[in-house]
Symmetry: C5
Subunit: 370 residues, 5 copies
C-alpha cells in the first residue's frame, strides 16, 4: 500500500505545463479518466438528482433551487472544464489549479467564488490521495475530483433523506459538509496506520526482523505526505472559521470551527505517530545491537571454551622422541590421559565460572528484548 | 501500566460517528458504563447533596441555591445527556463533544455557557486518562466524566466542610476548583514516572539489561500522550486567566492564573523528562556498545593467546620422517620439549605485554559503565 | 553532478572586494564571460528584437514601445554594467550586488526601480546555479545573468507569438513571467533529485552498497543549497504579492500570488525530500548493522560447529603410550573410529538444533533487508 | 555533585498540599529549617542591622529609614510567614508560593507589592539550587530563601560601606542588586561545568573511558535544570526592564536591562554547553566504535596469520600410511620440513602484505582518536 | 587553531568583577596590554592623524574637524578609559561593558551616544576573536579593541586617500564603515573553515581516519562560537537599518541595510556549514561501521575457509589403531591422501561459491566508501 501512495505522492508533482508557459492554461492530462458530471439541486422541499446535465439544464436548476451541487469526477476533458469555467465565471488561474492536481490545500477568495483546494484520502485496497477542488458561489457548489469514487456518499444520503437539516441551509453549509467529509476520511486511514505501528511495536519487542525497519520507514513516509497536506488544510479551515468571507455566515462559521478542531486533532495524531515512528526506529536499532551482542557472546563463549582445550590436546599430539630425557615424559605415565581430562575439566569449569561472574550465563538466556 | 494507558490513548481516537455524518449527533457508546448523576447545591449557609435527581429536582435546587454542581459519571445513556442538554440549553456541537471522548482540551464560549474540555489522569493500579467535559453557566456547573471514580473528592470535602471559603464564592470559582483538581492530579503521576526514570537511570549505569530500552520507550510514550493533552490545556487556562469571559470575574481570573502556572510547571516537567528519556536512550546505546567492546576484548584476548600456541604445538605434531636429514631434528634433542614450553611462555608473556600496552588489562576490569 | 553544484555553491561565496572596501564598487570578475546583450521591445502590435544595441538605440526603443526588456548574459565587462547603471539611474549598491554573484534572493525597492535578485537553476548535463538580477522600472525590465543560456526561452516564445496576452500587459507582467520561469525551472531539477532518491531507496532495500550513503549525502547537500535560496525567494514573492509596490498593479499582484504558491510548493518538496534523505540515512545504517549481524552469524555458525569437532579429533591425536593402563584405551577398540564419528554427528546436530531454536536457521536466509 | 543537584531538582516538585486542596494554604514543610530573620534598614546617612526583630520593631524601622530589607532564611515556621504576610498585606496565593519551593521563576504584580520568584544557585562543596522569593513594596524589600547561607554577602558589604551609592537609592534598586547577585552567581557554576566539559573533551580525545559518557550525561542533566529555570528568569528580567511597573523608575529599569543582558549571556552559555555536550556524546560514541574497529583488527590479524599456518602443520600431522603410494610422500623427503617452513613464511608474508595494502599496518598504530 | 579560538571563547566568560559587585565599576584586567591610542580627524578637505593624543588635543581636533575617530587598542589602563569616559560623557554601565570583554553584540542608545558592541574575528596564524566596542556621538567615533592589530586598515586607507567619498560624510558613515569591516572580516574565516570541511569530506569519502571526527568536532565548535555572536549582531544591524536612531540619517541607514544583508549571508553560511558538519559526522560513522563490516568479512572469510579444512586434517591425525577393524581404514588406502586433498578443494570451492552468492567476493573489493 505505502509504495503506491508514495509513488502517487511523487507523481503528483509532475507538472503538465512546461516552466515559463503562459499562466491560466487548462491542459487536460491525457491519462486522466473522462469526467462524469452529476448534479443535486435541493431546497426546503425539493430535490432533483441528475447525471451529465447540459449547461442549460444546470442554469435551469440554479433558477429553481436554492442550492445546486455540481460534482465532476475525472479531469480528462479540458473543454468541459473550460465550459463550466465560463458558465460560472471562474478565474483562469483557479481553473488551471483544478487540472494541475499537485496543489497544496489552499483557500483563495475570487470575486464571485471562494476557491478551496483540499486532498481527499480514500482507503479501498490501498490508500489513495487525490485532489479535490471546490468552488463555493452564490447558490451553488462545484466540486472536481480526479477519479470516480469519493467520500461524499454520507453527504448525498443526508441530502436525499428528507429529515436532514441540510435542506434548510445555504450552499455554504453544503461546502462545510463536503470539506468535513474529506477531513474526517483521514481518521480511518490514521487508525489503520496506528494499528500497523502497534503491530510493528509488538514485533520489535517480541521478535524483530530485518524488514521491520523498512515497514516503519513506509509508514513514516505516508505520515510525511499526510502532514504536508494537513498543515495547510488546517490553515484553510482556520481562515474559514475566523475571517469574514463572502457567502459564509456566522452560523456556518461555527461549523467550520468544528472542521478546524478536526484538522488539529489529525495533526496531533500524525505528530504523535511520527514521534512513535522515530522511537520505534531507535528501539529497533537497539534491538539489532542487542542481537549482535548476543551473537558475539555465543561466539566468544564457544571460542573461550574450546581454544584452551584444543591447545592442551595439541600439546600431547607432539611427536617428541620420548625416549630422550625431558621429552614429554608424561606420555609414558599410566593414567596420564585421565589426568589430562581432569585438567581440561578444571579449565572448562574456570571458564564457566568466569562467564557466570560476567553475567553471561546463569540467568535465563535473554534473546532480543524479551 | 504504560501499555494500558497508551492503548487507551489510541482507543480514544475511535470515532463513533462515521465520516460525513450529520454534526451534533449524540450517539452513546454501547460499551460505556451507565451514568451516575450526583448533585451538590450550596450557598453561604446551605448545602444539599443528592444522587440521581430528576430534572425537576435540579430546577428546584437551582432556584434555592446560588451554586448547583451536577456531576455525571458514565456516558452510556444518550437520552439522559440529550435531556440535560435541553434543560440547560447546551449547543448540539458541544453535546456531541461530550460523548465523543476523543477531544483535545479546549475552551469554547457559547451563548449561555462556557464549555471546557480537559483530560483527567487517575493513578489507581494503572494510569487512566479519561475525558472531562465541564459546562459553566449562570449558577451551575455541569461535569461529565467517562467512568465513576474521579479526582474531585478533595473539592467535595471543601464544599461539605462549612469552614471552606468556597461557599461564599460563585459557580466560576467551583469551575476553577474542579479544573485545578484535574490539573494537579497530573503531579503524582509525573512524580511516579520521574521515579521510574530515576530507577532506569541507575539500572543503565549499574547493570543495563536489554529490557531497559523498552521500559524507557514506554515512559516516553506516556510522556507524549500527556504532553499532547497538556499543551492545549495550558492554552485553555491561559485564555481563562487573560480573556474577559462572561461569568468569570477578576477575582476568579487570578485563581485561573494559578492554574495556568501549574500547567506550565507540568509542561516543564514533561519536557525535562522527555529530554532525560532521550538522554537515557543514548546512554543505554552507549552502554550496549561498551558491552560489545568488552565481549570482543575477551574473544580477542583468548584468540590472541591461544592461536600462536596451537600453531607451535601443531608444528611438533607433524609426522616428518626424522631419520632423514633436515626433518625436524629438534624432536630428537633431549629437553627440546622443555624448550618448546619456554618458547610458548615467552610468546604468552609478549601477548600479555601487548595487551597491557593497549590498556586492555592491568587496570581493574570495567564491565558496563561502572 | 552534485559535486559540481556544491562546489559552485561554495565558490559563490568568494567575494571579489576585500573586507572594508568602499561600498558600491563595481569590479568585474576577470574569469567571467564577456556580456551578450539582447533587447526585446514590444507593445500591443509591435515587436522588435535586437542583439548588442547601443545605449542610444535602447533609449530610442524605450520611446517607441511600452515595454523594453534588456537582457545581459555575462558579467565580464564592468564598464558596460556601469554604463547601463548610469543610463537607467541604478543605485551603486544594487549594481555592486549584480556583479557580486553571491547574493541571497532579495527584493529592494529603490527610487526608480524595483531590484530583485533570484537564483536560476538549470539542468543541462549538470545542475548549475547562477544569479539572476532583475530591475523593474517604468516601461523596462533589465536582467543580468552570469552566463549565456537561461530558462527564459518559453517567455521569449510567448512574446514572439502574436497570440499571447503578454503584449497587452505592462512591464511588471514581464517581470512576473521571468521570475515565474526562474522558479518553475526548479521543478524538473527537484523531480530529478526525487527520482534519484527513489532509486537509492530501492537500492538500500534490495542491495545496499557502501557508496549509497555518499550519494544520499550529495543529494542532501544540493537540497541544502536549494533550500537556502528558496526560503528568501519565497519571502520575495510573498512581498511582491502582498505589498503595495510602485509599478505593480493589483492584476499583476494576483499573478505574483501564483509565484508565491509555487515557491511554497517547492519548499514543501525540498523539506519532504530532506526528511526522506534523513530517513534513508537511518535505513542505510540499519541495513549496514543488519549486514554485520548476518556476517557475524556466519562466523559464529562456522566456529560453533567446527571448534568442538576439532577438539574431539585433537583428543585422539594425542600420543599417550596406549600400552600403559588408563592411557586412551579407546584407540585400541574396534570400530571406535566409527563411534567418534557418531559423537561428532550428535554434537553437530545439537549445535544445529541450538541455532534453529535461536532462529538463525530454518527460515529462509534473509540477507540485507529483503 | 550532579547527583545531588538533580535529586534536589526532582525533590522540588514534591508538593506539600494534595491536589484539589484549597488555594492559599500556607503549610510549612516539617523538614525545613527554622527561619532566621535579619533586617537591614538604611538611608542616606543611616544604617541599622538587627537579627530576629519583632514585627513592631520592623514597623518602627520602616518609619525611620527609607529602605528596609527583611531577609528570612528557612521556611520551617508557617506562623511567622503568615504573620509577615499579614504585616505587609501579602496575597495568600503569593505566600503559598513562598513555601511551595517548586515554583518557576516568575514576576507577579499584586496591589501593594511586586512578587518575584527566582532560583539561587550556590556552589559550596556541591551545587545547590534553592528558591528565592522577593517582595518589593513601598520602602521595603522582603526576601525568603530556603536555607541559611546565600549569595547576598557582597550586597550586604555594599550597604555597610558608607561609600556605596546604594544608600542614596530607593528600595527598587536594592531589589535589583539582590536579583543581580542571584543571577551572577550562576557564572562561577557555569565556569565550573565548562571546565569539566573541557576535561571530558580532552579525555575523549586522548583516553576515552566507559564512565565518560555517564559524566557527560550528568552535566547535561544539570544544564537542563539550569536552562529550565533561566528561560523564565530571562522573561522576568525582560519585563522588569521594559514594563512600567509601580515602584520601579526609569533609572532602576536601566539597571534591570543589565540584569536581562546577563540572563541572555547565561542562556547563551548554557545552550553552547548543551550543544557541546551533544557533540561530545557523538565524539565518544565514535571513539567507542573506533576502539571496536581496532580490537577487531587485532583479532582478524591474529586469526588470519595463524589459521592458514595451523592448517598447514595439521596436514603433516595426518597419519596416512606413507609406505603406500600417493600417501604423503613428502614426509619422506629430506629437508621437506625446511620446505614447509619456507611455505609458511611465504604465506605469512603474503598475509602481511595484504594487511599493508588494506592500510591496517605499516603506518604507526593509531589507538583511540590520538 | 581551533583549540585556541575555543579556549579564548571560554576565557571570555571569566568575569573580573565578583557576583554582587557594584555595577558600573571599571576594573582593568591586569593581564591586558597597555592601551595605544590613535586619532584620525578629517573633513571635506582636511586630514590629521596622530598617536597618543592628550584629552586637550582631542577636544581641539573635535572643534577643528567634522569627524574625529579615536581608536584605543588595549584595555590595560583603567584610568585612561575612565578619563575618556568623562571627556565624552559615557555612561558607567557602558564603560563597564568596554572592559568586561565578554559581551554579546548589542546596540544600546544612551543620551549622547549610540553604544555598539561587536566581536572582531582576525585570522593571523590562528583565528582570534576579540571584543570591539564603538561609541557613535556628535562628530566623533570612539572605538575600543582588546589588542593592537585590527581589521580597520582598509578604512584607514580610504580616509587617507583623498579620492574616497568618506570625507564628505558624517561620523555615522564612519561607524558604518568600521562595523562593515568587522562583519566582512568573517568571510575569509568562513571560507577557510569551508575549505577545511571540504578537505575533510574528501578524506571521509576516500580515506577516513580516526582523527577526522575530532577535526569535524573542532570546526563545529568554532561554528557554534561564531553563530552565537552573529545572531545578536544581525539583530544590531537590523535595528540600525530600521529604527530612527539619533545621528543616523536615511542615507547611512541604507548602507546599514547592506551590513544587515551581510550578517544574514554569514548566518546562512554558518548554518549551512553546521548542517554539513552534522552530515559529515553521519557519513564518518557510516564509514566506520562500513570498515567494521569489511574487517569482519575478512575474518569470517578466513575462519570459514580454514576451520573445516583444519577439522579434516585433524581427523586423519587421530591415532586409532588401524590394525583393528573399522578404525580409519582409509589411512591404509593408496592415494587416500590425494583423495583428502580433493575433498578439501571441493570444500574450499563450496565456501567460495557461498561467499560469491552472498556478494562478498567476485566484485572488486570495496574498502571504505570508494
Amino acid at each position: 500500500m505505502s509504495r503506491r501512495l508514495s509513488r502517487a505522492a511523487r507523481r503528483e508533482f509532475k507538472r503538465r505545463t512546461p516552466p515559463g508557459a503562459s499562466p491560466g492554461l487548462v491542459v487536460a492530462d491525457p491519462t486522466a479518466p473522462p469526467p462524469q458530471v452529476s448534479v443535486m439541486a435541493y431546497g426546503q422541499n425539493t430535490l432533483v438528482e441528475e447525471a451529465n446535465p447540459t449547461l442549460a439544464r444546470i442554469a435551469e436548476l440554479q433558477k429553481a433551487h436554492p442550492v445546486v451541487w455540481i460534482h465532476v469526477a475525472g479531469l480528462g476533458d479540458a473543454k468541459l472544464i473550460r465550459d463550466l469555467g465560463e458558465h460560472f465565471h471562474l478565474h483562469p488561474l483557479a481553473l488551471e489549479d483544478v487540472v494541475h492536481v499537485h496543489q497544496r490545500p489552499k483557500l483563495e477568495p475570487y470575486a464571485e467564488q471562494l476557491f478551496i483546494v483540499a486532498r481527499m484520502v480514500t482507503l479501498a485496497d490501498a490508500i489513495r490521495s487525490e485532489q479535490m477542488a471546490l468552488f463555493l458561489g452564490e447558490g451553488y457548489v462545484l466540486t472536481f475530483v480526479e477519479d470516480p469514487g469519493d467520500v461524499f456518499d454520507p453527504v448525498r444520503q443526508r441530502i436525499r433523506s428528507a429529515s436532514g437539516k441540510i435542506h434548510a441551509r445555504p450552499a455554504a453549509y453544503l461546502s462545510y459538509a463536503l470539506l468535513d467529509a474529506v477531513i474526517d476520511a483521514h481518521f480511518p486511514v490514521l487508525e489503520e496506520l496506528g494499528e500497523r505501528l502497534e503491530v510493528l511495536e509488538d514485533m520489535i519487542v517480541l521478535q524483530p526482523e530485518p524488514t521491520t525497519i523498512a515497514k516503519i520507514h513506509d509508514i513514516k513516509r505516508e505520515m510525511r505526505v499526510m502532514r504536508r497536506e494537513m498543515w495547510p488544510l488546517r490553515e484553510v479551515c482556520g481562515r474559514l472559521s475566523r475571517e469574514q468571507l463572502d457567502g459564509i455566515d456566522d452560523d456556518v462559521r461555527l461549523f467550520y470551527r468544528d472542521c478546524y478542531d478536526h484538522t488539529v486533532q489529525i495533526i496531533d495524531l500524525i505528530e504523535t505517530y511520527r514521534e512513535l515512528g522515530a522511537d520505534l526506529t531507535d528501539l529497533f536499532l537497539s534491538s539489532q545491537s542487542n542481537r549482535l551482542n548476543e551473537i558475539m557472546k555465543v561466539l566468544t563463549f564457544i571460542a573461550t571454551l574450546f581454544m584452551p582445550l584444543s591447545f592442551i590436546v595439541g600439546i600431547y599430539g607432539m611427536n617428541f622422541n620420548t625416549e630422550l630425557p625431558g621429552n614429554m615424559p608424561e606420555l609414558n605415565i599410566p593414567y596420564a590421559y585421565v589426568g589430562v581430562w581432569v585438567v581440561m575439566i578444571v579449565v572448562t569449569l574456570s571458564m564457566l565460572w568466569f562467564f557466570y561472574r560476567q553475567g553471561w550465563i546463569g540467568r535465563k538466556a535473554r534473546i532480543g528484548l524479551k
